[in-house]
Symmetry: C2
């Protein structure tokens, strides 16, 4: 059954948003009477039926609402955007597929990119949420300076291998609210690492090999999902 | 220190292969006397010094050879190529970065693509191996029919959720030689799943969400690396 994204669904008759309607009508060629599912990205999946199709309008009624609770843990990855934006886009896509609550973009001393296109990234997240049939859309935060991310109340990690005291992220306790900082191509500066440690962040390794920024972000997401599965 | 790929390195003076030489000279603008590292993709990393640069030839001598043993486990993922080849290319890149011994491409009943470009995929693997500083290049096998993959002597898994008896791949024992089959967009056919089970494959889940083919392949690779780390 095809799934669409619509952030607001009311009682009674609804109309798919413009772009989703176009997809339903022109690409999938859905007809009146066809079933569809809606995710609102805020915890609800609606099972619906198309009531009418007229030009570019696709109307539907809801016959069942499924409430999907938030997970009993949450993952927040704050990542330095890569020079090649494709790599961050796929990080957003894959992390959303795996399950993530929040993605932030961090401006670090060695950042090769200091701007991102929030709309384009939001589209990637929406598409991945639909693709994987999920009810929650991750929160995407605008780019912000490194030090603004340091005050967080949960379990705090910075991806940075400490040869003297190596800790693997997989040793994190389950059921936590996690924040993991992932640095740019040139890594975090020593000053940034020291500041994070001062603020209670733990330095962690994500595996045996050297990972690209976007792979490191995804690895962190994978590991935290796995210790909670 | 820049790292280059050269499958054959001899005693005495060597010359970088054409494309690598071009990169060293034109892009990195290396000079005589500069240090470089070579990976041969077969377990050796060579620490070298450039002895001469002339037009498009970059000569070097080896002053240290580091032998990197194979891991005490091995990962083989056999995956159905996706319709959009970009997705398989990034699977090859990311799996190589994480560490994988062998990638096969499988022609399944529901495959949307039945050809891959082995040279292009090999380039992705080489680039990722260099990027992550590794000594072993994964073996990439040509596309083959589903049933040719079923005779394997190690631990055999097929990514396919069995609601009655769900098993997560993370329960796999460590230090194994693993093969994981990952299906196409339309999943393996029931007949293929039954045949695999008959041949000793275990049906496994890779997580709580529905994953795209390439994400499933990478998830399998992540999970097996993690239980062995």
């Amino acid at each position: 059954m095809p799934i669409f994204y619509q952030p607001v669904v009311q009682e009674g008759i609804n109309h798919l948003d413009q772009e989703e309607a176009r997809h339903a009508i022109k690409v999938l060629r859905l007809q009146s009477g066809d079933p569809l599912r809606i995710t609102d990205g805020k915890g609800s999946i609606y099972e619906c039926t198309i009531t009418d199709i007229a030009k570019s309008t696709c109307s539907f009624s809801v016959h069942k609402t499924i409430s999907v609770p938030r997970r009993n843990f949450s993952i927040h990855i704050a990542i330095a955007p890569t020079k090649n934006i494709d790599r961050i886009e796929w990080f957003v896509e894959k992390a959303t597929e795996m399950g993530i609550e929040k993605i932030s973009f961090v401006r670090s001393k060695n950042s090769e990119r200091t701007v991102v296109n929030p709309e384009r990234l939001a589209k990637k997240a929406i598409s991945a949420m639909k693709q994987s049939g999920q009810a929650w859309l991750p929160l995407l935060q605008p780019i912000q300076p490194f030090d603004q991310l340091l005050d967080f109340g949960g379990l705090k990690y910075i991806a940075h291998v400490d040869p003297e005291n190596p800790q693997h992220l997989k040793e994190a306790p389950p059921n936590g609210h996690y924040l993991v900082l992932v640095g740019p191509e040139g890594d975090f500066s020593q000053q940034e690492v020291d500041l994070a440690v001062e603020k209670g962040f733990q330095k962690v390794s994500l595996g045996a090999t050297t990972l690209r920024t976007e792979t490191a972000g995804l690895a962190a997401c994978f590991i935290l999902n796995l210790i909670n599965s």
